[in-house]
C-alpha cells in the first residue's frame, strides 16, 4: 500500500487507530522519499525533504577546482525548452553524484558548458554519462545525475570538463576557454551513504520559500551579489516567473565595450538564495524618446564581481530611458525538487532609468 492510501485508510480508523501504527508511517526514507507535494506553487517552494552529502573529493588543474560528492539518489526534473520531465529514482540508482566547478583565484563557481563522466572501479568502467547542469536549493548551480555503482569501494571518476560557456570578465577574462580532463578518486560505501543527513520537512513542504544554502568548507556557492553590492549603478529590478531580475550598468566597462558605451548587466536570480539562472536567453530593448537605441539578445557573462549574468554593450543609459527586459527560453538546467515549478514562463519587464 502506498503511504497516501494508508493515510486515507488510517483516517477512517480515527485517532486510536493511528496511535497504534506510527511505526508503519516510517516507510519513507532517503531511498523512497515521500511523494511530491500535490499543490505546488508556480514558485520556489520547500521540498518534502532535504539531504546532505558525503565529504567531497577534490581535484585541480591550474586554476580549475572540482569537488565531487555523492548523496542519496534524488528525484529531479529535466527540462527541454519549457517541457519538464520528472525523473524518478530507478532501482539501478545507488547515488546522486554532483560536481561543483570553480576558479581558485576568484572563488567563482564556473558556468562550465558540460561535464561528462566516466566512472570506473578496479579498471572496469561502471558508468559513462554527461552530467546534467542542475540547480538545487542547497547547492545552487552544479552538475550531477543519479548513477548506478558497483558496491562499496574506491572509484575513479574521469571528468571531461568543457570550456566555459559564458564570456569571462575581469579576472576571468580569457580564462577557462579550453576544456580539460580531471580524474578524481572517491570512496563509496552504502553504510557511509546511509549516515548522510536526511530530514523531512513535513511542516514546511509545499510552502513558498527555499531551504538555506549548504555551508561547504573550502568551496564557494554559486550565489550572486545582492543588488546593493553590484559594482555599478542599479537601474531597477523586475520580478517574473518567480525570478528577480536586477538590472544595472557596470562602473567599469569590460574590454570589449567601446569608450563611449556602457556595459548593461541583467542578473536574474532565484528568490531567497540568490542563485544565478544560467542557460536562459534574455533580450533587452533600450528606448530613448520612443526610439529603440538598443534591441538585441544579451550574452551570458561571468565575472567575480557580478557573478553569472547576461550583458551587452549599449550606447549609455540616460535618465528617463525605458528598458524592456524580455526573457526568452527558461533556464535550461535540470531542477531539484522545489525549483521545478519556478522559472518556467516569464513576462516582459519594463523599467525606467
Amino acid at each position: 500500500m502506498e503511504r497516501r492510501n494508508f493515510l486515507r485508510a488510517g483516517a477512517t480508523l480515527g485517532v486510536a487507530g493511528l496511535a497504534g501504527c506510527t511505526g508503519l508511517f516510517e516507510t519513507t526514507s532517503a531511498n523512497s522519499p515521500p511523494p511530491v507535494v500535490e499543490d505546488r506553487p508556480d514558485a520556489a517552494y520547500y521540498p518534502t525533504h532535504i539531504e546532505g552529502h558525503a565529504k567531497p573529493s577534490m581535484a585541480e588543474d591550474g586554476r580549475l577546482r572540482v569537488a565531487l560528492m555523492y548523496s542519496y539518489p534524488h528525484r529531479f526534473w529535466t527540462i527541454t525548452g519549457a517541457d519538464t520531465n520528472k525523473v524518478s529514482i530507478q532501482s539501478e540508482d545507488d547515488a546522486h553524484l554532483m560536481a561543483t566547478i570553480w576558479d581558485s583565484e576568484t572563488m567563482t563557481v564556473l558556468p562550465t558548458a558540460n561535464v561528462s563522466a566516466e566512472i570506473s572501479k578496479d579498471g572496469e568502467t561502471v558508468d559513462t554519462r554527461d552530467f546534467w547542469p542542475m540547480l538545487s536549493q542547497n547547492m545552487g548551480y552544479h552538475f550531477g545525475d543519479n548513477v548506478g555503482l558497483d558496491g562499496d569501494g574506491t572509484y575513479t571518476a574521469s571528468l571531461d570538463v568543457g570550456s566555459m560557456q559564458a564570456r569571462g570578465l575581469g579576472d576571468l577574462a580569457g580564462a577557462f576557454e579550453d576544456g580539460t580532463t580531471i580524474e578524481i578518486e572517491f570512496e563509496y560505501s552504502e553504510a557511509d551513504k546511509n549516515e548522510i543527513m536526511y530530514e523531512e520537512l513535513s511542516d514546511q513542504q509545499g510552502q513558498e520559500g527555499a531551504v538555506e544554502p549548504m555551508e561547504m568548507e573550502m568551496m564557494p556557492v554559486s550565489s550572486v551579489p545582492a543588488a546593493s553590492d553590484l559594482p555599478g549603478t542599479v537601474i531597477g529590478e523586475g520580478t517574473s516567473g518567480d525570478a528577480r531580475f536586477v538590472v544595472a550598468t557596470a562602473n567599469e566597462s569590460p574590454e570589449f565595450v567601446g569608450d563611449d558605451e556602457t556595459y548593461l548587466v541583467v542578473s536574474p536570480r532565484t528568490p531567497h538564495n540568490s542563485y544565478p539562472l544560467p542557460f536562459m536567453s534574455v533580450s533587452a530593448t533600450l528606448s530613448r524618446d520612443g526610439e529603440a537605441v538598443f534591441d538585441d539578445s544579451l550574452d551570458a557573462g561571468i565575472s567575480p564581481e557580478f557573478g553569472y549574468h547576461y550583458g551587452a554593450a549599449v550606447d549609455g543609459v540616460e535618465s528617463g530611458d525605458e528598458l524592456a527586459i524580455t526573457p526568452g527560453s527558461p533556464p535550461q538546467v535540470s531542477r531539484h525538487e522545489g525549483y521545478e515549478t519556478a522559472f518556467l514562463s516569464f513576462e516582459e519587464m519594463t523599467l525606467t532609468a
Partner: protein, 434 residues
C-alpha cells in the same frame, strides 16, 4: 531466450557476429544449417564499377526508403609488409575479393522478398597512401582523421585498410570474414581462389546490426537501462528510424567525379559510445522527439513509434526546421539533431550517405557511424552543422551539448578516413594510377 533459458537460434546467430571467428561461425551453422543462398556472380565484369553501389541491391520499404542490410562487420587491416605493396600481393588479394563475389549474390529473392547476400567495400586510409612516394591526386579529398568537436577526443585510426561486409544473414558476414582471412577455404560451395593471409593482418574488427527488432534483442548491454526500453519496431538503439530517402545523399552525390579514382567515394568510420540511461529514463518521449528531430516535431506530435509514419522524409524542410534552428536556440534553448544536420544540405539535398549500424562491441551500446561522401570535407561540414556550436554561441540558453540535439548521449571514441576506390582499383591501389 526460450523458456529453458537457452539462446534462440536467432539470438545466437546475431551474437555470433559480435563474437566472431571460426568457432562462432561453426556453432552458428550447426544451429541454423546456414542460409539457403544461391551462389554469386560468374560474370564479374557485369558488377557495378562503384564498390559502394549497394542501393540497387537493397530492399525498399513501403515508402521507398532503402532498407540497410541487417548485419555488418568492419574489418580493419594492416598491410603485412613494409613499404609499398607488391604486384603479387595485389593479384592475390584481388583474387580473394573476387572469390567473395563468386560465392554470394549481392542480393536474391527469398519468398518474394529481396534479401542481401553479401555487399562489401574495401577502403584505404591516408596512412596507407603514406607508403608511396607519390601523393594522391587533387581530385581526392582524404585528410588524416581528426577530432571534429571541441568536446570530443577520439583516437584516430591509422590502419591501412577497412573492409565493410554487410548481409541480411549473420552467417554470411562471419563466413566471408573467415574466408578472407584464410581460415576457411570454401564459401557457399565456392572454392576461395586466394585469401588475404600473409598480405594483410587483422588490426581490429567492429561488428553490429541495424533493422527493426535487432536493437530490442540486443539491449542487454552497458549504456541501456535494465528496464529494456527499446521497442521491437526500432531499427536503432535510440528508438527512431533514420535513413529516410530524403535524409540520404544519393550514391551519385557521394561519388568522386574526376581523376583516377572517379567512381570511388570516401568513407568516414567513427565509433560512438551511446549513453542511453538518461535518454530512456530521464527524458520524456516528447523531449526525445524534440531532441532527435526538431522542436516542432514534439510540439505537433509528428512522430509515431519509431517514425515509420513519416514516410520517406523526416519533414525537415517541410516544417522549416533548418531555417528555424537559430530561433529555436534562442526562444526554446533547444535544437533537434536532424534540424541541425539538415543545415548542411546542398540545394536541399543531403551530402552524406549514412551506412551506420549499432553495436554491442566491448559489451556497451555503440554506433558505428559509417558515412560515404564525395569528399571528407562534406562529412566535416555535416558534422559541424550537427555540432551546432554556432547556435550555442548565439544563444545563451543552448548548451554546447545540453539540449543541443543528441550530442549528450554520444561519445566519439574513434575516427578514421578511408578512400573507397572504384571496383577496378579496389585492391592495394597506388595513389596515382594510370
Amino acid at each position: 531466450m526460450d523458456d529453458t533459458g537457452r539462446l534462440t537460434r536467432r539470438q545466437f546467430a546475431k551474437a555470433a557476429v559480435a563474437i566472431g571467428g571460426a568457432s562462432a561461425l561453426s556453432a552458428c551453422l550447426d544451429r541454423s544449417g546456414g542460409p539457403d543462398l544461391p551462389q554469386g556472380s560468374d560474370d564479374l565484369a557485369a558488377l557495378p564499377d562503384r564498390q559502394h553501389a549497394w542501393n540497387e541491391f537493397l530492399a525498399t520499404d513501403d515508402h521507398g526508403n532503402d532498407v540497410a542490410p541487417r548485419h555488418h562487420v568492419l574489418l580493419f587491416l594492416d598491410y603485412a609488409s613494409e613499404g609499398s605493396p607488391t604486384d603479387d600481393d595485389r593479384e592475390t588479394a584481388e583474387s580473394a575479393f573476387e572469390s567473395l563475389e563468386r560465392a554470394y549474390p549481392r542480393s536474391h529473392d527469398s519468398d518474394g522478398e529481396t534479401r542481401v547476400g553479401l555487399v562489401f567495400t574495401v577502403g584505404y586510409s591516408p596512412a596507407y597512401f603514406e607508403r608511396f612516394d607519390a601523393d594522391l591526386p587533387g581530385s581526392v579529398d582524404l585528410p588524416e582523421p581528426k577530432a571534429l568537436a571541441s568536446f570530443e577526443n577520439p583516437d584516430l585510426d591509422a590502419q591501412d585498410a577497412v573492409v565493410h561486409l554487410a548481409s541480411d544473414y549473420p552467417e554470411v558476414v562471419l563466413a566471408a570474414e573467415e574466408a578472407l582471412l584464410g581460415d576457411q577455404s570454401e564459401l557457399n560451395g565456392v572454392e576461395m581462389a586466394a585469401d588475404l593471409s600473409g598480405i594483410f593482418e587483422r588490426a581490429e574488427r567492429r561488428t553490429g546490426f541495424v533493422g527493426d527488432g535487432l536493437p530490442a534483442e540486443n539491449q542487454d548491454v552497458r549504456g541501456v537501462p535494465d528496464s529494456e526500453p527499446i521497442s521491437e519496431d526500432a531499427p536503432l538503439y535510440m528508438g527512431f528510424k533514420s535513413g529516410f530517402r530524403k535524409s540520404q545523399a544519393t550514391e551519385e552525390r557521394v561519388t568522386i567525379q574526376g581523376g583516377p579514382f572517379a567512381g570511388g567515394t570516401t568513407l568516414h568510420a567513427s565509433r560512438i559510445r551511446l549513453q542511453l540511461r538518461q535518454w530512456y529514463e530521464q527524458d520524456s518521449r516528447s523531449q526525445r522527439v524534440g531532441k532527435m528531430f526538431c522542436p516542432v516535431h514534439a510540439d505537433e506530435n509528428l512522430v509515431e513509434g519509431a517514425g515509420d509514419n513519416l514516410g520517406d522524409t523526416a519533414l525537415m524542410d517541410e516544417k522549416g526546421c533548418p531555417a528555424h534552428a537559430s530561433d529555436d536556440a534562442r526562444t526554446k534553448g533547444m535544437v533537434g539533431h536532424s534540424q541541425k544536420s539538415a543545415r548542411a544540405r546542398e540545394d536541399g539535398s543531403p551530402i552524406i550517405l549514412r551506412r551506420d549500424f549499432d553495436s554491442t562491441d566491448d559489451g556497451e551500446a555503440g554506433l558505428h557511424f559509417v558515412a560515404l561522401q564525395r569528399e571528407i570535407s562534406d562529412f566535416v561540414a555535416t558534422r559541424e552543422a550537427m555540432n551546432g556550436e554556432d547556435l550555442a554561441e548565439e544563444s545563451a540558453a543552448l548548451g554546447q551539448k545540453n539540449n543541443n540535439g543528441i550530442l549528450q548521449y554520444m561519445d566519439v571514441l574513434r575516427r578514421g578516413n578511408f578512400l573507397v576506390p572504384p571496383r577496378d582499383l579496389r585492391t592495394l591501389p597506388e595513389p596515382n594510377p594510370e
